[in-house]
Symmetry: C2
Subunit: 302 residues, 2 copies
Protein backbone atom coordinates (compact mmCIF):
# COMPACT_ATOMS: atom_id res chain seq x y z
CA UNK A 1 0.00 0.00 0.00
CA UNK A 2 1.44 3.34 -1.06
CA UNK A 3 0.08 6.81 -0.44
CA UNK A 4 1.24 9.84 -2.42
CA UNK A 5 0.09 13.12 -0.92
CA UNK A 6 -0.39 15.63 -3.75
CA UNK A 7 -1.70 18.30 -1.42
CA UNK A 8 -2.69 18.44 2.23
CA UNK A 9 -3.41 22.06 3.09
CA UNK A 10 -6.78 23.67 3.74
CA UNK A 11 -8.55 26.47 1.91
CA UNK A 12 -6.63 28.24 -0.87
CA UNK A 13 -3.78 26.92 -2.99
CA UNK A 14 -0.63 29.01 -2.58
CA UNK A 15 2.83 29.17 -4.05
CA UNK A 16 4.20 26.44 -1.82
CA UNK A 17 1.09 24.54 -0.69
CA UNK A 18 -1.62 22.59 -2.44
CA UNK A 19 -5.20 21.76 -1.47
CA UNK A 20 -6.29 18.20 -0.75
CA UNK A 21 -5.56 15.39 -3.16
CA UNK A 22 -3.88 12.03 -2.76
CA UNK A 23 -3.20 8.87 -4.71
CA UNK A 24 -3.66 5.55 -2.95
CA UNK A 25 -2.14 2.44 -4.48
CA UNK A 26 -3.65 -0.66 -2.90
CA UNK A 27 -3.69 -4.23 -4.14
CA UNK A 28 -3.07 -3.27 -7.77
CA UNK A 29 -5.52 -0.35 -7.83
CA UNK A 30 -4.59 3.32 -8.17
CA UNK A 31 -7.26 5.50 -6.59
CA UNK A 32 -7.43 9.30 -6.55
CA UNK A 33 -8.92 10.80 -3.40
CA UNK A 34 -10.08 14.41 -3.70
CA UNK A 35 -8.83 16.78 -6.39
CA UNK A 36 -8.17 20.37 -5.35
CA UNK A 37 -7.11 22.94 -7.93
CA UNK A 38 -3.75 22.00 -9.43
CA UNK A 39 -4.15 18.24 -8.91
CA UNK A 40 -3.23 17.38 -12.51
CA UNK A 41 -0.01 19.39 -12.27
CA UNK A 42 0.84 17.69 -8.97
CA UNK A 43 0.25 14.31 -10.63
CA UNK A 44 2.74 15.29 -13.33
CA UNK A 45 5.26 16.61 -10.82
CA UNK A 46 5.17 13.30 -8.98
CA UNK A 47 5.50 11.48 -12.33
CA UNK A 48 2.42 9.40 -11.59
CA UNK A 49 1.03 7.47 -14.55
CA UNK A 50 -2.34 9.07 -14.02
CA UNK A 51 -4.01 7.36 -16.95
CA UNK A 52 -4.00 4.35 -14.59
CA UNK A 53 -6.51 6.05 -12.30
CA UNK A 54 -9.98 4.63 -12.96
CA UNK A 55 -11.76 5.68 -9.77
CA UNK A 56 -11.86 9.13 -8.20
CA UNK A 57 -13.38 9.62 -4.75
CA UNK A 58 -14.47 13.13 -3.78
CA UNK A 59 -15.20 13.81 -0.11
CA UNK A 60 -17.27 16.97 -0.42
CA UNK A 61 -17.99 19.96 -2.62
CA UNK A 62 -15.78 22.57 -0.99
CA UNK A 63 -13.43 23.94 -3.62
CA UNK A 64 -10.20 22.86 -1.97
CA UNK A 65 -11.32 19.25 -2.47
CA UNK A 66 -12.64 19.21 -6.03
CA UNK A 67 -11.86 22.33 -8.16
CA UNK A 68 -9.14 20.35 -9.94
CA UNK A 69 -11.51 17.59 -11.06
CA UNK A 70 -12.89 19.28 -14.19
CA UNK A 71 -9.37 20.05 -15.39
CA UNK A 72 -8.27 16.46 -14.95
CA UNK A 73 -11.36 15.18 -16.79
CA UNK A 74 -10.64 17.61 -19.66
CA UNK A 75 -7.00 16.63 -19.79
CA UNK A 76 -7.92 12.95 -20.03
CA UNK A 77 -10.09 13.99 -22.99
CA UNK A 78 -7.19 15.81 -24.67
CA UNK A 79 -4.89 12.86 -24.01
CA UNK A 80 -7.42 10.72 -25.88
CA UNK A 81 -8.16 8.48 -22.93
CA UNK A 82 -10.20 5.37 -23.77
CA UNK A 83 -10.54 3.74 -20.35
CA UNK A 84 -13.69 4.20 -18.27
CA UNK A 85 -13.49 6.74 -15.46
CA UNK A 86 -15.66 6.54 -12.33
CA UNK A 87 -16.28 9.53 -10.10
CA UNK A 88 -17.77 9.08 -6.62
CA UNK A 89 -18.94 12.15 -4.75
CA UNK A 90 -21.86 14.12 -3.32
CA UNK A 91 -24.99 14.68 -5.37
CA UNK A 92 -24.43 17.70 -7.59
CA UNK A 93 -20.98 16.77 -8.78
CA UNK A 94 -22.34 15.36 -12.03
CA UNK A 95 -24.22 18.57 -12.79
CA UNK A 96 -21.10 20.68 -12.16
CA UNK A 97 -18.94 18.62 -14.50
CA UNK A 98 -21.49 18.07 -17.26
CA UNK A 99 -22.50 21.75 -17.32
CA UNK A 100 -18.92 22.76 -17.97
CA UNK A 101 -18.40 20.09 -20.63
CA UNK A 102 -21.66 21.10 -22.32
CA UNK A 103 -20.84 24.82 -22.37
CA UNK A 104 -17.42 24.10 -23.87
CA UNK A 105 -19.08 21.84 -26.45
CA UNK A 106 -16.84 18.99 -25.29
CA UNK A 107 -17.44 15.27 -25.16
CA UNK A 108 -15.19 12.74 -23.45
CA UNK A 109 -14.06 9.94 -25.74
CA UNK A 110 -14.10 7.67 -22.69
CA UNK A 111 -17.05 6.62 -20.57
CA UNK A 112 -17.45 8.90 -17.59
CA UNK A 113 -19.59 7.42 -14.83
CA UNK A 114 -20.84 9.37 -11.84
CA UNK A 115 -21.78 7.64 -8.61
CA UNK A 116 -23.56 10.35 -6.65
CA UNK A 117 -23.86 9.92 -2.91
CA UNK A 118 -26.65 11.10 -0.64
CA UNK A 119 -26.82 8.51 2.12
CA UNK A 120 -25.94 9.46 5.67
CA UNK A 121 -25.20 5.81 6.43
CA UNK A 122 -22.00 4.08 5.36
CA UNK A 123 -22.33 2.25 2.07
CA UNK A 124 -20.07 0.19 -0.16
CA UNK A 125 -19.41 2.28 -3.27
CA UNK A 126 -16.87 0.06 -5.00
CA UNK A 127 -16.02 -3.60 -4.76
CA UNK A 128 -14.13 -6.11 -6.82
CA UNK A 129 -12.12 -9.25 -6.06
CA UNK A 130 -9.24 -7.19 -4.66
CA UNK A 131 -10.62 -4.21 -2.78
CA UNK A 132 -13.71 -2.81 -1.07
CA UNK A 133 -14.32 0.93 -0.75
CA UNK A 134 -17.00 2.21 1.59
CA UNK A 135 -18.05 5.68 2.67
CA UNK A 136 -17.40 7.04 6.16
CA UNK A 137 -20.11 9.65 6.82
CA UNK A 138 -18.45 12.70 8.37
CA UNK A 139 -19.72 15.73 10.28
CA UNK A 140 -18.80 18.85 8.31
CA UNK A 141 -20.52 22.08 7.23
CA UNK A 142 -21.83 20.38 4.09
CA UNK A 143 -22.54 16.75 3.15
CA UNK A 144 -19.19 14.96 3.42
CA UNK A 145 -17.88 11.40 3.27
CA UNK A 146 -14.55 9.94 4.15
CA UNK A 147 -13.62 6.66 2.46
CA UNK A 148 -12.44 3.34 3.85
CA UNK A 149 -10.29 1.26 1.51
CA UNK A 150 -9.80 -2.41 2.40
CA UNK A 151 -7.92 -5.01 0.44
CA UNK A 152 -9.40 -8.49 0.38
CA UNK A 153 -7.33 -11.39 1.62
CA UNK A 154 -5.44 -12.90 -1.29
CA UNK A 155 -4.65 -16.56 -1.98
CA UNK A 156 -2.40 -18.59 0.33
CA UNK A 157 1.22 -18.66 -0.80
CA UNK A 158 2.92 -21.89 -1.86
CA UNK A 159 5.97 -23.09 0.10
CA UNK A 160 7.57 -23.88 -3.22
CA UNK A 161 10.40 -26.00 -1.76
CA UNK A 162 7.91 -28.15 0.15
CA UNK A 163 5.58 -28.81 -2.79
CA UNK A 164 8.53 -29.67 -5.02
CA UNK A 165 10.01 -32.04 -2.44
CA UNK A 166 6.65 -33.78 -2.28
CA UNK A 167 6.57 -33.90 -6.11
CA UNK A 168 3.07 -32.42 -6.18
CA UNK A 169 1.94 -31.83 -9.75
CA UNK A 170 1.55 -28.19 -10.84
CA UNK A 171 -2.09 -28.78 -11.72
CA UNK A 172 -2.89 -28.87 -7.98
CA UNK A 173 -1.20 -25.53 -7.17
CA UNK A 174 -4.37 -23.49 -7.70
CA UNK A 175 -6.39 -25.70 -5.34
CA UNK A 176 -3.61 -25.58 -2.73
CA UNK A 177 -3.46 -21.77 -2.88
CA UNK A 178 -7.21 -21.73 -2.24
CA UNK A 179 -6.54 -23.59 1.03
CA UNK A 180 -7.33 -27.24 0.19
CA UNK A 181 -5.39 -30.15 1.66
CA UNK A 182 -3.93 -32.55 -0.89
CA UNK A 183 -3.67 -36.34 -1.14
CA UNK A 184 -0.43 -37.61 -2.60
CA UNK A 185 -0.32 -40.54 -5.03
CA UNK A 186 0.83 -42.83 -2.20
CA UNK A 187 -2.31 -41.92 -0.28
CA UNK A 188 -0.65 -39.59 2.26
CA UNK A 189 -2.79 -36.59 3.20
CA UNK A 190 -0.79 -33.33 3.29
CA UNK A 191 -2.31 -30.57 5.38
CA UNK A 192 -2.55 -27.26 3.55
CA UNK A 193 -0.71 -25.41 6.33
CA UNK A 194 2.37 -27.61 5.76
CA UNK A 195 2.81 -26.47 2.18
CA UNK A 196 1.54 -22.86 2.25
CA UNK A 197 2.14 -19.56 3.97
CA UNK A 198 -0.65 -17.21 5.07
CA UNK A 199 -1.83 -14.71 2.43
CA UNK A 200 -0.73 -11.07 2.64
CA UNK A 201 -2.37 -9.31 5.55
CA UNK A 202 -5.38 -7.16 4.73
CA UNK A 203 -4.42 -3.60 3.95
CA UNK A 204 -6.71 -0.86 5.12
CA UNK A 205 -6.70 2.88 4.78
CA UNK A 206 -9.25 5.34 6.15
CA UNK A 207 -9.41 8.84 4.70
CA UNK A 208 -11.29 11.22 7.03
CA UNK A 209 -11.36 14.82 5.83
CA UNK A 210 -12.99 17.25 6.40
CA UNK A 211 -14.73 16.60 9.70
CA UNK A 212 -15.61 17.85 13.13
CA UNK A 213 -14.59 15.63 16.06
CA UNK A 214 -16.92 12.67 15.68
CA UNK A 215 -16.50 9.47 17.68
CA UNK A 216 -19.33 7.80 15.78
CA UNK A 217 -16.83 6.90 13.05
CA UNK A 218 -14.70 4.85 15.45
CA UNK A 219 -16.49 1.48 15.09
CA UNK A 220 -16.15 1.62 11.31
CA UNK A 221 -12.44 2.43 11.28
CA UNK A 222 -11.55 0.21 14.26
CA UNK A 223 -8.11 -1.33 13.83
CA UNK A 224 -7.34 0.08 10.37
CA UNK A 225 -3.71 0.00 9.44
CA UNK A 226 -3.54 3.66 8.43
CA UNK A 227 -5.84 6.55 9.27
CA UNK A 228 -5.51 9.92 7.55
CA UNK A 229 -7.45 12.32 9.74
CA UNK A 230 -7.77 16.02 9.20
CA UNK A 231 -6.15 18.28 11.77
CA UNK A 232 -6.85 21.78 10.58
CA UNK A 233 -5.92 23.47 13.84
CA UNK A 234 -3.49 23.35 16.74
CA UNK A 235 -4.79 23.59 20.31
CA UNK A 236 -4.23 27.33 20.36
CA UNK A 237 -6.95 27.69 17.69
CA UNK A 238 -9.27 24.98 19.02
CA UNK A 239 -12.02 27.57 19.47
CA UNK A 240 -12.39 27.65 15.69
CA UNK A 241 -13.32 23.98 15.37
CA UNK A 242 -16.98 24.22 16.28
CA UNK A 243 -17.92 26.93 13.79
CA UNK A 244 -15.77 25.58 10.96
CA UNK A 245 -16.48 21.90 11.73
CA UNK A 246 -12.83 20.95 11.69
CA UNK A 247 -10.50 19.20 14.18
CA UNK A 248 -7.34 19.86 16.10
CA UNK A 249 -4.33 17.55 15.97
CA UNK A 250 -5.22 16.31 19.46
CA UNK A 251 -8.74 15.46 18.38
CA UNK A 252 -7.41 13.53 15.40
CA UNK A 253 -5.16 11.65 17.81
CA UNK A 254 -8.12 10.89 20.08
CA UNK A 255 -9.95 9.26 17.19
CA UNK A 256 -6.82 7.28 16.31
CA UNK A 257 -6.50 6.13 19.92
CA UNK A 258 -10.14 5.10 20.23
CA UNK A 259 -9.98 3.28 16.88
CA UNK A 260 -6.68 1.60 17.82
CA UNK A 261 -5.16 2.26 14.42
CA UNK A 262 -1.54 1.43 13.70
CA UNK A 263 -0.55 4.66 11.99
CA UNK A 264 -2.11 8.12 12.04
CA UNK A 265 -1.30 10.57 9.27
CA UNK A 266 -2.16 14.19 9.98
CA UNK A 267 -3.06 16.72 7.29
CA UNK A 268 -5.43 19.45 6.06
CA UNK A 269 -3.49 22.06 7.98
CA UNK A 270 -4.75 25.60 8.06
CA UNK A 271 -2.46 27.75 5.94
CA UNK A 272 -1.94 30.02 8.99
CA UNK A 273 0.72 27.61 10.26
CA UNK A 274 4.20 27.71 8.82
CA UNK A 275 5.61 24.97 11.07
CA UNK A 276 3.65 21.73 10.72
CA UNK A 277 5.90 19.70 13.05
CA UNK A 278 3.83 21.01 15.96
CA UNK A 279 0.83 18.98 14.77
CA UNK A 280 2.73 15.75 15.44
CA UNK A 281 3.99 17.00 18.79
CA UNK A 282 0.50 17.83 20.01
CA UNK A 283 -0.99 14.58 18.69
CA UNK A 284 1.69 12.52 20.47
CA UNK A 285 0.30 13.65 23.81
CA UNK A 286 -2.76 11.50 23.10
CA UNK A 287 -1.90 8.69 20.70
CA UNK A 288 1.00 6.29 21.23
CA UNK A 289 1.07 4.64 17.77
CA UNK A 290 2.97 5.98 14.80
CA UNK A 291 2.11 9.55 13.89
CA UNK A 292 3.21 11.07 10.60
CA UNK A 293 2.78 14.54 9.23
CA UNK A 294 1.53 14.60 5.65
CA UNK A 295 3.18 17.14 3.40
CA UNK A 296 2.72 18.01 -0.27
CA UNK A 297 4.59 15.57 -2.44
CA UNK A 298 5.30 13.14 0.39
CA UNK A 299 5.15 9.43 -0.41
CA UNK A 300 4.28 6.93 2.32
CA UNK A 301 5.13 3.28 1.75
CA UNK A 302 2.75 1.74 4.24
CA UNK B 1 0.68 50.10 -19.68
CA UNK B 2 2.05 46.87 -18.23
CA UNK B 3 1.21 43.31 -19.17
CA UNK B 4 2.02 40.36 -16.92
CA UNK B 5 1.62 37.02 -18.64
CA UNK B 6 0.57 34.44 -16.06
CA UNK B 7 0.19 31.69 -18.63
CA UNK B 8 0.29 31.52 -22.41
CA UNK B 9 0.13 27.86 -23.38
CA UNK B 10 -2.77 25.99 -24.95
CA UNK B 11 -4.75 23.03 -23.64
CA UNK B 12 -3.54 21.38 -20.43
CA UNK B 13 -1.52 22.91 -17.60
CA UNK B 14 1.77 21.09 -17.09
CA UNK B 15 4.69 21.18 -14.70
CA UNK B 16 6.39 24.04 -16.51
CA UNK B 17 3.58 25.71 -18.48
CA UNK B 18 0.34 27.41 -17.57
CA UNK B 19 -2.88 27.95 -19.51
CA UNK B 20 -4.02 31.42 -20.57
CA UNK B 21 -4.23 34.24 -18.06
CA UNK B 22 -2.80 37.73 -18.00
CA UNK B 23 -2.95 40.91 -15.97
CA UNK B 24 -3.18 44.22 -17.83
CA UNK B 25 -2.44 47.42 -15.96
CA UNK B 26 -3.71 50.40 -17.92
CA UNK B 27 -4.41 53.92 -16.77
CA UNK B 28 -4.74 52.96 -13.11
CA UNK B 29 -6.83 49.85 -13.71
CA UNK B 30 -5.73 46.27 -13.10
CA UNK B 31 -7.66 43.90 -15.35
CA UNK B 32 -7.48 40.12 -15.40
CA UNK B 33 -7.90 38.54 -18.81
CA UNK B 34 -8.80 34.84 -18.82
CA UNK B 35 -8.14 32.55 -15.89
CA UNK B 36 -6.92 29.04 -16.67
CA UNK B 37 -6.41 26.53 -13.86
CA UNK B 38 -3.70 27.73 -11.47
CA UNK B 39 -4.26 31.44 -12.12
CA UNK B 40 -4.44 32.33 -8.42
CA UNK B 41 -1.13 30.61 -7.73
CA UNK B 42 0.46 32.41 -10.67
CA UNK B 43 -0.85 35.72 -9.28
CA UNK B 44 0.84 34.90 -5.97
CA UNK B 45 4.06 33.82 -7.66
CA UNK B 46 4.21 37.15 -9.49
CA UNK B 47 3.45 38.93 -6.19
CA UNK B 48 0.53 40.76 -7.79
CA UNK B 49 -1.77 42.53 -5.36
CA UNK B 50 -4.72 40.67 -6.81
CA UNK B 51 -7.28 42.20 -4.47
CA UNK B 52 -6.86 45.23 -6.76
CA UNK B 53 -8.50 43.35 -9.65
CA UNK B 54 -12.10 44.47 -10.01
CA UNK B 55 -12.83 43.30 -13.55
CA UNK B 56 -12.19 39.88 -15.06
CA UNK B 57 -12.65 39.32 -18.78
CA UNK B 58 -13.11 35.74 -19.99
CA UNK B 59 -12.74 35.06 -23.71
CA UNK B 60 -14.54 31.74 -23.96
CA UNK B 61 -15.58 28.67 -22.02
CA UNK B 62 -12.79 26.26 -22.93
CA UNK B 63 -11.17 25.06 -19.74
CA UNK B 64 -7.71 26.44 -20.44
CA UNK B 65 -9.23 29.93 -20.31
CA UNK B 66 -11.50 29.80 -17.24
CA UNK B 67 -11.08 26.74 -14.97
CA UNK B 68 -9.15 28.91 -12.51
CA UNK B 69 -11.96 31.46 -12.13
CA UNK B 70 -14.00 29.63 -9.50
CA UNK B 71 -10.90 29.12 -7.35
CA UNK B 72 -10.04 32.80 -7.50
CA UNK B 73 -13.61 33.80 -6.62
CA UNK B 74 -13.52 31.40 -3.64
CA UNK B 75 -10.16 32.68 -2.49
CA UNK B 76 -11.42 36.27 -2.56
CA UNK B 77 -14.23 35.02 -0.32
CA UNK B 78 -11.78 33.40 2.13
CA UNK B 79 -9.64 36.55 2.11
CA UNK B 80 -12.75 38.44 3.18
CA UNK B 81 -12.85 40.66 0.10
CA UNK B 82 -15.28 43.57 0.32
CA UNK B 83 -14.79 45.21 -3.08
CA UNK B 84 -17.18 44.51 -5.96
CA UNK B 85 -15.98 42.03 -8.58
CA UNK B 86 -17.20 42.09 -12.17
CA UNK B 87 -16.91 39.08 -14.47
CA UNK B 88 -17.40 39.47 -18.22
CA UNK B 89 -17.76 36.34 -20.33
CA UNK B 90 -19.98 34.14 -22.49
CA UNK B 91 -23.49 33.30 -21.40
CA UNK B 92 -23.33 30.30 -19.08
CA UNK B 93 -20.44 31.51 -16.98
CA UNK B 94 -22.76 32.76 -14.25
CA UNK B 95 -24.51 29.39 -14.01
CA UNK B 96 -21.17 27.56 -13.73
CA UNK B 97 -19.93 29.75 -10.91
CA UNK B 98 -23.18 30.06 -8.97
CA UNK B 99 -23.86 26.32 -9.16
CA UNK B 100 -20.53 25.61 -7.51
CA UNK B 101 -21.01 28.27 -4.84
CA UNK B 102 -24.51 26.98 -4.13
CA UNK B 103 -23.43 23.33 -3.81
CA UNK B 104 -20.65 24.31 -1.42
CA UNK B 105 -23.14 26.39 0.57
CA UNK B 106 -20.91 29.44 0.06
CA UNK B 107 -21.75 33.10 -0.29
CA UNK B 108 -19.35 35.81 -1.32
CA UNK B 109 -19.15 38.67 1.17
CA UNK B 110 -18.52 40.98 -1.79
CA UNK B 111 -20.84 41.80 -4.66
CA UNK B 112 -20.19 39.52 -7.61
CA UNK B 113 -21.60 40.84 -10.88
CA UNK B 114 -21.78 38.84 -14.07
CA UNK B 115 -21.91 40.52 -17.46
CA UNK B 116 -22.86 37.71 -19.81
CA UNK B 117 -22.13 38.16 -23.48
CA UNK B 118 -24.05 36.78 -26.44
CA UNK B 119 -23.66 39.39 -29.17
CA UNK B 120 -21.75 38.57 -32.30
CA UNK B 121 -21.14 42.28 -32.86
CA UNK B 122 -18.54 44.25 -30.96
CA UNK B 123 -19.93 46.01 -27.91
CA UNK B 124 -18.56 48.20 -25.15
CA UNK B 125 -18.61 46.13 -21.97
CA UNK B 126 -16.86 48.54 -19.61
CA UNK B 127 -16.28 52.27 -19.64
CA UNK B 128 -15.28 54.90 -17.14
CA UNK B 129 -13.40 58.20 -17.32
CA UNK B 130 -10.10 56.39 -17.84
CA UNK B 131 -10.65 53.35 -20.02
CA UNK B 132 -12.98 51.73 -22.53
CA UNK B 133 -13.15 47.96 -22.97
CA UNK B 134 -14.96 46.49 -25.95
CA UNK B 135 -15.36 42.95 -27.25
CA UNK B 136 -13.65 41.70 -30.39
CA UNK B 137 -15.86 38.89 -31.76
CA UNK B 138 -13.56 36.01 -32.77
CA UNK B 139 -13.99 32.91 -34.91
CA UNK B 140 -13.40 29.85 -32.75
CA UNK B 141 -15.06 26.48 -32.16
CA UNK B 142 -17.35 28.01 -29.54
CA UNK B 143 -18.58 31.55 -28.87
CA UNK B 144 -15.46 33.63 -28.20
CA UNK B 145 -14.56 37.27 -27.71
CA UNK B 146 -11.24 39.03 -27.67
CA UNK B 147 -11.11 42.34 -25.80
CA UNK B 148 -9.89 45.78 -26.82
CA UNK B 149 -8.64 48.00 -23.99
CA UNK B 150 -8.24 51.71 -24.74
CA UNK B 151 -7.21 54.42 -22.34
CA UNK B 152 -8.96 57.74 -22.71
CA UNK B 153 -6.88 60.86 -23.24
CA UNK B 154 -6.16 62.34 -19.84
CA UNK B 155 -6.11 65.98 -18.79
CA UNK B 156 -3.43 68.31 -20.14
CA UNK B 157 -0.43 68.59 -17.83
CA UNK B 158 0.46 71.89 -16.13
CA UNK B 159 3.83 73.48 -16.89
CA UNK B 160 4.11 74.19 -13.20
CA UNK B 161 7.04 76.64 -13.54
CA UNK B 162 5.12 78.68 -16.13
CA UNK B 163 1.88 78.97 -14.16
CA UNK B 164 3.79 79.94 -11.02
CA UNK B 165 5.80 82.59 -12.86
CA UNK B 166 2.53 84.07 -14.12
CA UNK B 167 1.15 83.93 -10.54
CA UNK B 168 -1.99 82.14 -11.74
CA UNK B 169 -4.19 81.22 -8.79
CA UNK B 170 -4.55 77.51 -8.02
CA UNK B 171 -8.31 77.73 -8.43
CA UNK B 172 -7.78 77.98 -12.20
CA UNK B 173 -5.58 74.86 -12.48
CA UNK B 174 -8.50 72.49 -13.12
CA UNK B 175 -9.82 74.68 -15.98
CA UNK B 176 -6.33 74.94 -17.47
CA UNK B 177 -5.83 71.17 -17.38
CA UNK B 178 -9.12 70.85 -19.27
CA UNK B 179 -7.59 72.94 -22.07
CA UNK B 180 -8.99 76.44 -21.42
CA UNK B 181 -7.00 79.62 -22.05
CA UNK B 182 -6.74 81.99 -19.10
CA UNK B 183 -7.00 85.74 -18.65
CA UNK B 184 -4.61 87.24 -16.11
CA UNK B 185 -5.66 90.01 -13.70
CA UNK B 186 -3.86 92.56 -15.92
CA UNK B 187 -6.04 91.47 -18.84
CA UNK B 188 -3.37 89.46 -20.71
CA UNK B 189 -4.74 86.33 -22.41
CA UNK B 190 -2.49 83.30 -21.92
CA UNK B 191 -2.92 80.56 -24.50
CA UNK B 192 -3.41 77.11 -22.94
CA UNK B 193 -0.56 75.60 -25.00
CA UNK B 194 1.90 78.03 -23.34
CA UNK B 195 1.22 76.69 -19.86
CA UNK B 196 0.46 72.98 -20.48
CA UNK B 197 1.93 69.85 -21.99
CA UNK B 198 -0.06 67.34 -24.04
CA UNK B 199 -1.79 64.58 -22.06
CA UNK B 200 -0.36 61.06 -22.06
CA UNK B 201 -0.85 59.34 -25.39
CA UNK B 202 -3.74 56.90 -25.66
CA UNK B 203 -2.76 53.36 -24.71
CA UNK B 204 -4.40 50.48 -26.49
CA UNK B 205 -4.17 46.73 -26.12
CA UNK B 206 -6.02 44.09 -28.12
CA UNK B 207 -6.26 40.56 -26.74
CA UNK B 208 -7.22 38.08 -29.47
CA UNK B 209 -7.30 34.47 -28.30
CA UNK B 210 -8.52 31.91 -29.32
CA UNK B 211 -9.31 32.47 -32.96
CA UNK B 212 -9.09 31.19 -36.49
CA UNK B 213 -7.48 33.53 -39.02
CA UNK B 214 -10.06 36.30 -39.34
CA UNK B 215 -9.38 39.54 -41.18
CA UNK B 216 -12.75 40.94 -40.17
CA UNK B 217 -11.21 42.01 -36.83
CA UNK B 218 -8.67 44.27 -38.57
CA UNK B 219 -10.76 47.46 -38.76
CA UNK B 220 -11.47 47.30 -35.02
CA UNK B 221 -7.87 46.80 -33.95
CA UNK B 222 -6.37 49.14 -36.58
CA UNK B 223 -3.34 50.96 -35.21
CA UNK B 224 -3.46 49.57 -31.68
CA UNK B 225 -0.24 49.91 -29.77
CA UNK B 226 -0.06 46.28 -28.71
CA UNK B 227 -1.77 43.21 -30.15
CA UNK B 228 -1.66 39.86 -28.36
CA UNK B 229 -2.69 37.35 -30.99
CA UNK B 230 -2.85 33.63 -30.53
CA UNK B 231 -0.39 31.53 -32.52
CA UNK B 232 -1.10 27.96 -31.55
CA UNK B 233 0.86 26.42 -34.40
CA UNK B 234 3.99 26.79 -36.49
CA UNK B 235 3.76 26.48 -40.29
CA UNK B 236 4.63 22.79 -40.14
CA UNK B 237 1.31 22.17 -38.34
CA UNK B 238 -0.79 24.69 -40.30
CA UNK B 239 -3.07 21.88 -41.48
CA UNK B 240 -4.48 21.72 -37.94
CA UNK B 241 -5.75 25.31 -37.94
CA UNK B 242 -8.98 24.76 -39.85
CA UNK B 243 -10.34 21.95 -37.69
CA UNK B 244 -9.18 23.44 -34.38
CA UNK B 245 -9.96 27.06 -35.35
CA UNK B 246 -6.57 28.31 -34.30
CA UNK B 247 -3.80 30.28 -36.04
CA UNK B 248 -0.17 29.92 -37.01
CA UNK B 249 2.47 32.47 -36.05
CA UNK B 250 2.50 33.68 -39.66
CA UNK B 251 -1.25 34.23 -39.61
CA UNK B 252 -0.98 36.22 -36.39
CA UNK B 253 1.71 38.30 -38.09
CA UNK B 254 -0.56 38.86 -41.12
CA UNK B 255 -3.26 40.28 -38.87
CA UNK B 256 -0.67 42.51 -37.16
CA UNK B 257 0.55 43.73 -40.54
CA UNK B 258 -2.94 44.47 -41.87
CA UNK B 259 -3.87 46.25 -38.63
CA UNK B 260 -0.60 48.23 -38.63
CA UNK B 261 -0.05 47.63 -34.94
CA UNK B 262 3.14 48.74 -33.24
CA UNK B 263 3.89 45.58 -31.29
CA UNK B 264 2.70 42.01 -31.74
CA UNK B 265 2.90 39.58 -28.84
CA UNK B 266 2.59 35.91 -29.72
CA UNK B 267 1.18 33.28 -27.37
CA UNK B 268 -1.19 30.35 -26.83
CA UNK B 269 1.42 27.93 -28.10
CA UNK B 270 0.53 24.30 -28.50
CA UNK B 271 2.32 22.32 -25.81
CA UNK B 272 3.86 20.15 -28.55
CA UNK B 273 6.56 22.79 -29.07
CA UNK B 274 9.49 22.93 -26.70
CA UNK B 275 11.24 25.82 -28.50
CA UNK B 276 8.99 28.89 -28.74
CA UNK B 277 11.62 31.13 -30.37
CA UNK B 278 10.56 29.70 -33.72
CA UNK B 279 7.19 31.45 -33.44
CA UNK B 280 8.92 34.83 -33.57
CA UNK B 281 11.18 33.74 -36.42
CA UNK B 282 8.25 32.65 -38.56
CA UNK B 283 6.18 35.75 -37.76
CA UNK B 284 9.08 38.04 -38.71
CA UNK B 285 8.78 36.86 -42.30
CA UNK B 286 5.47 38.73 -42.52
CA UNK B 287 5.39 41.58 -39.99
CA UNK B 288 8.10 44.24 -39.70
CA UNK B 289 7.06 45.82 -36.40
CA UNK B 290 8.14 44.61 -32.99
CA UNK B 291 7.37 40.97 -32.32
CA UNK B 292 7.63 39.49 -28.85
CA UNK B 293 7.13 35.97 -27.61
CA UNK B 294 4.95 35.75 -24.54
CA UNK B 295 6.11 33.32 -21.89
CA UNK B 296 4.72 32.37 -18.50
CA UNK B 297 5.69 34.94 -15.90
CA UNK B 298 6.96 37.44 -18.46
CA UNK B 299 6.29 41.12 -17.76
CA UNK B 300 6.01 43.58 -20.63
CA UNK B 301 6.35 47.30 -19.88
CA UNK B 302 4.62 48.66 -22.95
Amino acid sequence: MKLTVLGCYAATPRTMTNPTSQVLEINGHMFLIDAGEGTQVQLRKKKIKFQRIQHIFISHLHGDHFYGLIGLISTYMLLNRQTDLHVYGPKGIKEIILLQLRLSNSYTGYNLYFHELESKESEIVFEDEKVTVSTIPLDHRIYTNGYLFKSKPGLRKLKIGAVEDLKIDRCYYSKIKQGFDIELENGTLVKNKEITYDPDPIESYAFCSDTYYDESIVPQIKGVKVLYHESTFLESESHYTEKTKHCTAKQAASIAKLAEVQTLILGHYSTRYSDITRFKTEAEEIFKGTILNADDGKVFEL
